[in-house]
């Protein structure tokens, strides 16, 4: 790219042609106050007018986020005119905004509040009519409150980029414009897969997870035996809630915090990830041996399950019937564990800490409860756990490192840890499938071909003459490519891993927000690198484990010996497997 000469605040700079003023200024050391500067153009509307600057010779002020630099351009950011205009833009946004910031769950990470602070915007400068408000709290996963929406459209872009879906869109026009699913429906009556990616990018509290902290409080009040389990990806990100650098694993401190919060047992979902692998690998080999439906597709990601049920009803027999790991854990806790410890399952309350909003929805599925007893009772996101810890006055950074509980359940191998990143389930399954077919361990353990963040990864393994072709996809946009192949009858794979969120659970919709304006100590390219950093935290934990194959988990072996029989036994099916049901994208509303 050619370099061009510009001036900012009277100082000369050379920048690349083709950049917007906002991008160029950033490289020269100026953060023009804006709402979108940090988000890779995921809003390209140029409509909020917060980033206005003066350009010599231009008619009026220009929106720096969409205005390209040109040779000889002279830009003034700090003139009184520009400062006043930016402030007025934010004040106009605030005039049609529910400014109940105190109660807003997003206030710590609200980009509008931040922009208001930086520009000096005052509340109540423009009084007038407000756009009619919709609050959708119907699903157990996501809340949409249009009174806080600033119409930036980032959620729409994210949904489209991640999943090719765009469940959300702009509706109506002018002052009545809102963002929502078609017909301003609830997410519950739309093709939403509840992944929560929209909540990660929403600059305000318009899109958030539905909190279940109150449910957990109530369980404690009722004197229940409250067991908590944490998904692998949580440990790779929770530290961010407490100012730690992205990619800092905080397993030990997280366990210590959960104990101090009063949970009766603190377990690692990885235990159940090992169990999942035993069941899933057995199921796969069974399908291969008995000419069953292939390719088999993983079923750990509830966002993906939602997508499949809504969009690919005819492919549901391809899904592994295995419950997701935390649901398996819930089922084992409320059967095996309760039996061994003389606890009435009704008195047990299982809380899952997940990087995911779709898990909140998943736990309510009728297929995942028996006689009114749910396998899992509450799901908190990583962000909610952060809130819970802060609320309790625990100084997270000063906590000692403690170990997960490990009595008759809880032991885990490295194979479970990597479930949290795209390709992880596949790698873990291959480690065990290799053993099952050869009776030997794979010398490498690592299966590099399925690591990394390529949209679709594939590998081919010759195991004792049995060739297994596998593929890994994350984000529904990528998954769709593989699904269409299956639909058209030209899929060459035996086994496919699909994760709902791009990058896998480490970048799940319930993970801490990555918003550079609130992360002053991170590198400027953090939005491009945070997934890799969180993934590295998980891979390093895998490498630290002495046991790295699920089939080496002694407690799992014992669970089969004493309770389940063998993988895919009748009892295992009853407790650890589930079923799926085709759904309509748009339910007919009365």
């Amino acid at each position: 790219m050619a370099k061009i000469n510009i001036k900012i605040e009277g100082i000369s700079y050379q920048v690349e042609e083709g950049l917007t003023i906002l991008e160029a200024a950033k490289l020269c050391g100026y953060n023009i106050p804006s709402l979108c500067a940090y988000n890779h153009g995921e809003c390209s509307q140029g409509s909020c007018r917060v980033c206005l600057v003066e350009v010599k010779g231009a008619r009026g002020l220009v929106a720096s986020c969409v205005y390209p630099v040109s040779e000889g351009m002279e830009i003034v950011i700090s003139s009184q005119k520009a400062v006043a205009a930016r402030r007025a833009s934010v004040e106009l946004l605030l005039s049609n905004h529910s400014v109940q910031c105190q109660q807003c769950e997003k206030n710590e990470y609200c980009e509008l509040l931040y922009a208001a602070k930086v520009t000096g915007a005052r509340e109540g400068m423009f009084e007038g009519v407000k756009t009619p408000v919709t609050v959708d709290e119907v699903t157990p996963a996501i809340i949409r409150d249009t009174s806080k929406c600033i119409l930036c459209g980032r959620c729409i872009e994210r949904c489209k980029n991640a999943h090719g879906l765009s469940v959300l869109g702009f509706e109506k026009r002018g002052f009545n414009t809102i963002v929502g699913p078609a017909e301003n429906r609830s997410f519950a009556d739309s093709p939403c897969i509840m992944c929560g990616q929209c909540t990660s990018v929403c600059p305000t509290g318009a899109l958030m997870e539905k909190s279940e902290i109150a449910k957990v409080d109530q369980a404690f009040r009722e004197g229940k035996f409250v067991v908590v389990q944490t998904a692998p990806a949580v440990r790779a990100a929770l530290g961010e809630e407490f100012g730690m650098k992205i990619g800092t694993p905080v397993t030990g401190k997280m366990v210590a915090a959960l104990r101090r919060l009063g949970f009766n047992r603190v377990y690692d979902t990885n235990y159940a990830a090992d169990l999942t692998i035993m069941e899933e690998a057995t199921e796969l080999l069974g399908r291969i041996k008995n000419n069953g439906v292939l390719p088999m597709i993983t079923s750990c990601s509830p966002g993906w399950i939602n997508y499949a049920e809504i969009n690919y009803g005819e492919l549901l027999p391809h899904l592994s019937s295995c419950k997701s790991p935390h649901e398996m854990f819930g089922a084992i806790l409320k059967s095996y564990y309760c039996e061994k410890n003389g606890i009435d399952p009704k008195d047990m309350f299982v809380v899952s800490i997940m990087p995911c909003t779709a898990k909140k929805y998943e736990k309510e599925r009728e297929q995942l409860q028996h006689d009114g007893i749910k396998d899992v009772d509450a799901v908190l996101t990583t962000r909610e756990l952060g809130k819970l810890i802060k609320r309790s006055g625990i100084n997270f950074n000063m906590l000692p490192d403690e170990e997960f509980d490990n009595d008759i359940v809880g032991e885990y191998t490295g194979a479970g840890v990597i479930f949290g990143v795209t390709g992880g389930v596949m790698e873990a399954a291959l480690r065990t499938a290799y053993y099952a077919l050869t009776g030997k361990e794979h010398e490498l353990i690592k299966f590099e071909q399925v690591r990394g963040f390529e949209g679709i990864k594939e590998a081919s393994l010759d195991i004792n003459g049995t060739v297994i072709n596998v593929a890994v996809a994350h984000g529904m946009k990528n998954a769709k490519v593989l699904l269409e192949e299956i639909k058209n009858g030209n899929s060459k794979y035996h086994f496919i891993e699909i994760m709902g969120c791009p990058g896998g659970c480490i970048a799940g919709g319930g993970q801490p927000y990555v918003k550079p304006q609130f992360l002053p100590n991170e590198e400027p390219d953090i939005l491009d690198t945070y997934k890799q950093k969180r993934a590295a935290a998980l891979y390093s934990e895998d490498e630290r484990q002495t046991l790295r194959q699920s089939h080496k988990n002694e407690q799992i072996k014992k669970l089969y010996d004493e309770f389940l029989g063998e993988p895919n036994s009748h009892k295992a099916h009853e407790l650890l497997h589930t079923s799926y049901k085709e759904r309509e994208a748009f339910k007919v509303l009365k």
Partner: protein
């Protein structure tokens, strides 16, 4: 799609097929559906989404952005009252209010008997004859409030 008649599916599919090779077919498809099918309910949008790969939310956004498109069936007679600047200063608001009062519907709504739809339009380019009303393409110039009952009656009697 289960909720659309077979004939409707054929009709909508045929309309979509006309424009699928265009780089941006949506507006053309929706225009033809509006003209030929009469309105664009969600089930129709779902079918258009399947054919074009454009999401339902996006299609719904377009349908609700342009007042030309309608989510509900329109009446036999569509009364379009121009509320553009020229018509407005010449008393168009009083004219549309009178229609609204006599028909018992608000702008954008259709009478229960399915006979009339009342629409508020922005400038229809007939400023010289303001205030203007267009009913199924027939333009009524320089209307006053007192003309309104007679016009409605003439359509009720099928005289026009």
């Amino acid at each position: 799609m289960l909720h659309l008649s077979e004939a409707a599916v054929v009709q909508i599919t045929e309309i979509c097929d006309r424009y699928l090779d265009e780089p941006t077919p949506l507006m053309m498809i929706l225009s033809d559906i509006q003209k030929e099918y009469g309105y664009i309910p969600l089930e129709v949008q779902e079918l258009v989404s399947q054919k074009t790969g454009i999401s339902v939310a996006e299609i719904y956004g377009v349908v609700t952005f342009y007042s030309f498109f309608s989510l509900n069936p329109k009446g036999k007679y569509v009364i379009g009252c121009c509320l553009g600047t020229a018509c407005y200063v010449k008393g168009a608001q009083q004219v549309i209010d009178k229609f609204s009062e006599l028909l018992g519907v608000k702008p954008g709504e259709t009478t229960e008997d399915g006979l009339f739809t009342l629409d508020a339009l922005r400038c229809i380019g007939a400023c010289g004859i303001a205030p203007a009303v267009s009913i199924n393409g027939k333009v009524y110039p320089k209307l006053s409030v007192s003309d309104v009952p007679g016009i409605i009656e003439s359509y009720r009697e099928g005289a026009v």
